[in-house]
Assembly symmetry: C2
Homo-oligomer: 210 residues x 2
Amino acid sequence: MASVTNHKNVPDIVVGRLPLYLRALGAMQAAGKQVTSSQELADWLGISSAQIRKDLSHFGEFGKQGTGYSVVMLQERLRHILHLNREWPVIVVGAGNIGSAIARYSGFERRGFRVLGVFDNDPGKIGAQAGPFVVQDAARMIEFIRERDIRHAMLAVPAEHAQSVTDTLVEAGIIAILNYAPINLIVPPHVHVESIDPVVHLQKMTFYIV
Amino acid sequence: MASVTNHKNVPDIVVGRLPLYLRALGAMQAAGKQVTSSQELADWLGISSAQIRKDLSHFGEFGKQGTGYSVVMLQERLRHILHLNREWPVIVVGAGNIGSAIARYSGFERRGFRVLGVFDNDPGKIGAQAGPFVVQDAARMIEFIRERDIRHAMLAVPAEHAQSVTDTLVEAGIIAILNYAPINLIVPPHVHVESIDPVVHLQKMTFYIV
DNA sequence: TAGATTGTTAATCGATTAACAATC
DNA sequence: TAGATTGTTAATCGATTAACAATC
């Protein structure tokens, strides 16, 4: 039996599915379900039950033969595996359309993250309101990150500034960047980047449209 | 030599990389590059050159031995493969934080899409401005979609309404949905769904953070 | 020509699935 | 107990990579 803390050899593609399992379990809990099975989860997510059992087996044994998984318990275990058994502070960089929308979005807290501040370098935006936040001067960003030991940033600046802002974030100690700019960021090996580009998704789907 | 129109057997994972190639080529063109190679593209994207050549080989021969690829020409070919050699109309459903931000975003046109309208069913939002659009009553959505033969929708409604709105969109003829709601949509087999959930990305990265 | 780079093949690598003993 | 479902193994499937002849 693998220890829950034995994370060395878990394929990245497996890690990427764990948040989806967690999300599905949350929906099941909201629907009043107490117990589920790999088959039910699989139907919910549109994947195979074998894949779910195999994925979970990287981290331990969480189910009961003949019964399945406790919805609450499996969530707890997944949160622990993903280090979500605490709240992580995040900053938003860029107070344009997307940055402001993120700042106003209230769905982070419930899932492990808390936005602590919003930054921009545009004097026309500094001091303005972005949801519950007053937009701060990006010049104070490094200090802010270091003082609070922040590791996560959501980057929503124009593409032409994204790389230089990234360099600043990395210098300040950020090691997880959710990138909304439509470019490939270059970062040191210890820094993680995930990118969101809606147009890439639209273009992919358009391939299949006559 | 495979025909450019022979798309039957292309793995989905390959299709998903084509928009990234297109995006990188656009950046190269903006940087004044006329010619590139699989190696240069690979460095740019952080993948292997063999993978790029293999991916492209599904659609034809676009390069020249000893020289590489014309940046402009390869973009043209990729746009054609992805059916982006025309402009696709899109609607935005939901005029909350995210929907409004999408409506104000000006980056779609340049990459093959044009937002034609924004819809909501909240009387408090109908008639309001969302970027250059006046928010329309969702009750008129089906008619709007059918009249204009729209195939793409960006869905930014609260999670609890996402499935029923999806059913309506599909009924109206939408076959490509970019889903911003944090749930798994159930759609008929002919409908494509791509989902964007920032929290899922943050959670995945958090696995790797001590 | 000599050097560079493609397109393609075959080998490797890794992920998914099917099947089933274990067991609740 | 009988039925259901797990965790795991081995087989299958598919994707990536290395290597190189072709050729610009």
